[in-house]
C-alpha cells in the first residue's frame, strides 16, 4: 500500500490486461490499452467521454472479445467468449446501464444466469424460496434500504436500482468487482452508501475497478489510478502521488505521462 510504483512481477496482481484493441467498424474504441489491478486495492479508471473506459470494462467482463491483446487473471491467461465465462473466472461487473430487467423481481434479477434449481434430470425447477431468502440476506448484509426482494425492479427508484446492481455484483464473493460509473446519477446519500460498499469490499480483500468522472471520489477511494485517452491507458499513478490537477492535465493531454 505504500509502494508508489507498480511492477509487472507484483505477486498481488490479480488482473492485468495488455495491449487490448477493439474496433467497431471504423471506430477504434481501444488502441492497445494496458492496465492492472492488485488484490485488496481499489483501482480507478478515469478519462474523458469516449476514451474507451466502458469498452475496456466490457472486454474484461466478457461482453466484447478484444480484437488483440491478452487478459491475465491470477497469473493465467483467459479468453472470455461470454459474460458467463468472465463470471466463472471471478469477475463481477456493475455495468454502466446496470443490466437489470425491469419486469423481473429483485430476486430474479439477483440470480439471473445462475439460478438455483431443485429436482433432477429434466425435471429441474427453480428453487425460488432459497433464492428469495439468499437475495434478502445479500441485500440486507449490505445494509442498504431496499424494498422486499419480490417487488419488480420497475417499481424501484434509480438509487434503489443501483443498490441492487451493486449488491448483486458484491454478493458472490468474487475476487474482482468492476463498477462502471456506479454513482453517476446518484444523490449524496446514495453516493455515500455506495462508497461504503466499495470500502467494505476492499477490506474483505476484493480487487475493485472503479470508473468515475469524480476526481475527489477517485482520490478518496482508490490506491491506483489509470488515465485513459483515445483508447489507450496513457498513464498510471499511485493515488497518493498525484492530485486532481495532474489528473486533469493527463486526461486532456496537456501533460504527457
Amino acid at each position: 500500500m505504500t509502494s508508489t510504483t507498480t511492477t509487472d512481477t507484483d505477486l498481488d496482481l490479480v488482473l492485468s490486461a495488455e495491449g487490448i484493441t477493439k474496433s467497431f467498424g471504423s471506430v477504434h474504441a481501444l488502441r492497445g490499452a494496458s492496465i492492472s489491478m492488485r488484490r485488496g486495492e481499489v483501482t480507478a479508471l478515469i478519462g474523458d467521454n469516449g476514451a474507451g473506459k466502458s469498452t475496456l470494462v466490457r472486454c474484461l467482463s466478457g461482453i466484447h472479445r478484444p480484437d488483440e491483446g491478452s487478459i491475465t487473471i491470477n497469473g493465467s491467461l483467459v479468453d472470455f467468449h461470454t459474460p458467463l465465462e468472465a463470471r466463472n473466472a471471478g469477475v463481477e461487473t456493475v455495468q454502466q446501464n446496470l443490466a437489470l430487467i425491469e419486469d423481473l423481481s429483485v430476486w430474479q434479477n439477483f440470480f439471473l444466469g445462475r439460478e438455483r434449481t431443485r429436482g433432477f434430470g429434466p425435471f429441474r425447477f427453480l428453487d425460488s424460496k432459497a433464492m428469495r431468502s439468499k437475495a434478502d440476506e445479500m441485500l440486507g448484509g449490505l445494509a442498504v434500504n431496499v424494498p422486499p426482494v419480490t417487488s419488480k425492479v420497475r417499481r424501484l427508484s434509480g438509487g434503489q436500482r443501483q443498490a441492487v446492481a451493486i449488491a448483486r455484483a458484491a454478493g458472490w464473493g468474487s475476487p474482482i468487482v468492476i463498477m462502471d460509473e456506479p454513482t453517476a446519477a446518484l444523490g449524496v446519500q446514495e453516493t455515500a452508501r455506495v462508497e461504503g460498499v466499495i470500502k467494505r469490499l476492499q477490506d474483505s480483500g476484493v480487487a475493485v475497478l472503479l470508473i468515475s468522472h469524480n476526481f475527489d471520489q477517485v482520490l478518496r477511494l482508490s490506491q491506483q489510478v489509470w488515465v485513459m485517452r483515445s483508447g489507450t491507458a496513457v498513464a498510471g499513478r499511485r493515488a497518493v502521488d498525484t492530485n486532481g490537477d495532474e489528473l486533469v492535465a493527463l486526461i486532456t493531454g496537456a501533460k504527457a505521462a
Binding site: 467482463s61 461482453i63 461487473t93 443490466a99 419486469d103 423481473l104 439460478e115 429441474r124 424501484l156
Partner: protein, 331 residues
C-alpha cells in the same frame, strides 16, 4: 420565499392499501383481467340470449373447437414474451399437417407420421429462429417470409389437394372424451399446464422473460439471447405441429389451405390475455382465456344466427374494446 415547507415523509415509492383499492376502482384492474372479464360477460350475454349456449353439448363442442386456437395462443405467447411475433404460425401448422398427411399416405403409420408432421413444422421454426437470432432479421419480416415459404411448400408437397387421413388413432383423438371434455381440449390443457410450469418454474422460462425484458441486460448476465430466441420459435413451431395433428384429426384430411384467421386470432388471443407486444411480461392463462373468449364469441354469434356479415364486425369491436381496456394496464 425563505419560509420552509415542512418536508413530508419520503414515501414516494410506497403504495398503501388505499392506493390499491383506488386502483381497483380504476380501469387498470379491469385491464389486467380483460380476458376473464370479457369471457364472463360474453357467457352471461349469450346464455340470456340463447338457451342452447350453456347446454352441456354446446360447452363440449366449444371446448373441442377451441383446442387448436388454445395451443396456438400458448405458442404465440412464448414468442411474444420475448418481444417477437410469429406470423408464420398458421402456415407452419398447414405445412405440418401436409407433412403428416404425406407420411401417413406413404404408409408410415400414425405415430411415425405424427412425428414427421411435428418435425416438418419444427424445421420452419428453426429457420425462423436462425433468421431472427443469428440473421438479425426483424421478427415481422422473417416470419412473413417463412409464412409465404411454408404456404408454397405445403401447396407443392400436396400438389394442392387435400390428403385424406383415415386412422383409428386419429378417430380416437376426435371422438374420445372424458366426461364432456373431448381429447383435443384435454391435450390443449395439458400443453397449457406444461407451458405454464416451464415459463414460471424453470430457468428456461425465466430466461425467456429476461430476454423479452431487456436483451442487452440478459446477455450481460450471461444468458444467450440467441439460444433463447431460437428455442422460442422452435417451441412455437412444434406446438403448431401438434395443433396440425388436431386439425387433421378434426377434419379427417390434411389440407394445404392457408388459415390466416388462425394467425390473427392467435395474436388477438394473446393480446386479449393481457400480454404486451413489447415483450417481457409472460402470461399463459390469459392467452388461453383469450382463445376461449374468441371461440365463445364465434359460437354464440352462430347460435344466435347473427348474419355472417356481422361476425367480423363483432370480432373487430371486441378486439378493439379489449385493447382499449388493456391500455390501462399497470406496467
Amino acid at each position: 420565499m425563505n419560509t420552509t415547507t415542512t418536508a413530508t415523509a419520503p414515501d414516494v415509492q410506497r403504495t398503501t392499501p388505499a392506493d390499491v383499492l383506488r386502483d381497483a376502482r380504476h380501469l387498470s384492474f379491469w385491464a389486467e383481467h380483460a380476458a376473464p372479464i370479457g369471457l364472463v360477460a360474453l357467457i352471461i350475454v349469450f346464455s340470456i340470449l340463447s338457451p342452447s349456449f350453456l347446454t352441456l353439448g354446446n360447452i363440449s363442442a366449444m371446448l373441442t373447437a377451441a383446442a387448436i386456437l388454445v395451443i396456438l395462443a400458448v405458442a404465440q405467447s412464448y414468442v411474444i414474451t420475448t418481444g417477437g411475433i410469429d406470423l408464420s404460425i398458421s402456415a407452419t401448422m398447414t405445412f405440418g399437417a401436409i407433412c403428416f398427411g404425406l407420411a401417413f399416405s406413404g404408409g408410415l403409420g400414425f405415430w411415425l407420421s405424427a412425428l414427421v408432421g411435428v418435425l416438418g413444422a419444427a424445421v420452419i421454426g428453426i429457420v425462423n429462429g436462425l433468421l431472427i437470432a443469428s440473421g438479425k432479421v426483424t421478427d415481422f419480416i422473417a416470419t412473413l417470409g417463412t409464412l409465404s415459404v411454408a404456404t408454397g411448400l405445403a401447396l407443392i408437397f400436396s400438389n394442392g389437394r387435400p390428403i385424406s387421413v383415415l386412422s383409428p388413432e386419429l378417430l380416437q383423438l376426435t371422438t374420445g372424451r372424458i366426461g364432456i371434455v373431448g381429447y383435443p381440449f384435454i391435450i390443449a390443457v395439458v400443453i397449457g399446464i406444461i407451458a405454464w410450469v416451464v415459463m414460471f418454474r424453470t430457468r428456461f422460462g425465466l430466461h425467456v422473460q429476461a430476454v423479452g425484458g431487456s436483451e442487452e441486460a440478459a446477455v450481460a448476465n450471461g444468458l444467450s439471447a440467441n439460444r433463447v430466441r431460437i428455442a422460442v420459435y422452435l417451441i412455437s413451431a412444434v406446438l403448431a405441429g401438434i395443433a396440425a395433428l388436431l386439425l387433421v384429426a378434426r377434419v379427417g384430411a390434411a389440407e394445404p389451405a392457408i388459415n390466416t384467421s388462425y394467425l390473427l386470432n392467435s395474436i388477438a388471443a394473446v393480446v386479449l390475455g393481457g400480454v404486451s407486444l413489447t415483450g417481457g411480461k409472460a402470461k399463459i392463462v390469459g392467452p388461453i382465456l383469450g382463445a376461449l373468449l374468441l371461440t365463445a364469441l364465434s359460437n354464440g354469434l352462430t347460435l344466435l344466427g347473427v348474419s355472417q356479415f356481422y361476425q367480423p364486425l363483432a370480432v373487430g369491436l371486441v378486439v378493439v374494446l379489449a385493447a382499449l381496456l388493456t391500455r390501462f394496464q399497470k406496467r
